[in-house]
Point group: C2
Chain length 189, copies 2
Amino acid sequence: MIILASGSPRRQELLGKLCKNFIVEVSDAQEAQSADDPKALAVANAVLKAQSVAAKHPDAVVIGADTIVVLDGEIFGKPDGVAGAEAMLARLSGKRHEVITGLAICADGSVYTAAEVTEVYFGAMTAAEIKIYAATGEPLDKSGSYALQGGATKFIEKIHGDWSNVVGLPVYRLKRLAEAAGINFEEAD
Amino acid sequence: MIILASGSPRRQELLGKLCKNFIVEVSDAQEAQSADDPKALAVANAVLKAQSVAAKHPDAVVIGADTIVVLDGEIFGKPDGVAGAEAMLARLSGKRHEVITGLAICADGSVYTAAEVTEVYFGAMTAAEIKIYAATGEPLDKSGSYALQGGATKFIEKIHGDWSNVVGLPVYRLKRLAEAAGINFEEAD
């Protein structure tokens, strides 16, 4: 049995590209907060999420993921309301930032981890564009206050890395991590 | 009135990120074939598509686009059946290629053009993976025989550039081109 320890519909859709049969069980793990190293923080949180679900399902393959946005070394999580989203978008406007997803797979008592980094280059947004986008509500539950594949498509000039990582689950990296761990998503049941 | 001169559902979805009201009219223009310069070819075809529709709707803003895949200077169009798709995917496996979309906007008797280039890095695919993917049928109507956002997500290690360009319409570049031409997609009707 494969379990995705995340309630994100975007992660569920992306995991569907690697395996047809999996269930979702949202972790109740407390997330780690402070960290000097954003990559280590994302991986730590992915491990915490996966482990808390794996503890209840020792025979399952459990996948955890945690995505953060980093601008000039500062970590952006989900915004605190519409005003918070507007402030975050104003900070991202016209700049390059990094999206980091930590991955963890718990299987057979072992934990396999990886981190994927994608650089995202925002074009300059006007104050009016930011206001309109924040008001759609889409940014409110997103790390960094935007969705690459949603209303922010038109603001993003380019990326360097895997687009699925920006959406929330780096599919290629997860496939490689599973292969290295000897886990076959297609054959798991 | 805004007209998209393309029948691609993927382009229609992406244009929806820039304007809410547009209609689709597929061009019957003959496409240019030979070209030493892939960028010029993509732009030429975008112009041909947009112009053939604009000729019938002189008061409309008409958008044309043409997407090609280029590997080591060789242009890949749509595959010739399942075997052709398998051969194309085998060529792309483990290599970097370029996706180029030519854009043309016809408005008020003027034509505005641009070309967007995105580098795509495929991981190595096994012969079995290629066979399974080609058999899904998804590659058959795609330039280069794959869909970034579809079954090929798990094969693509990274991109350098705009993901929407790989899907078929570079949204950010189109927004900038329209702005430079003084066209407001939101206010057009």
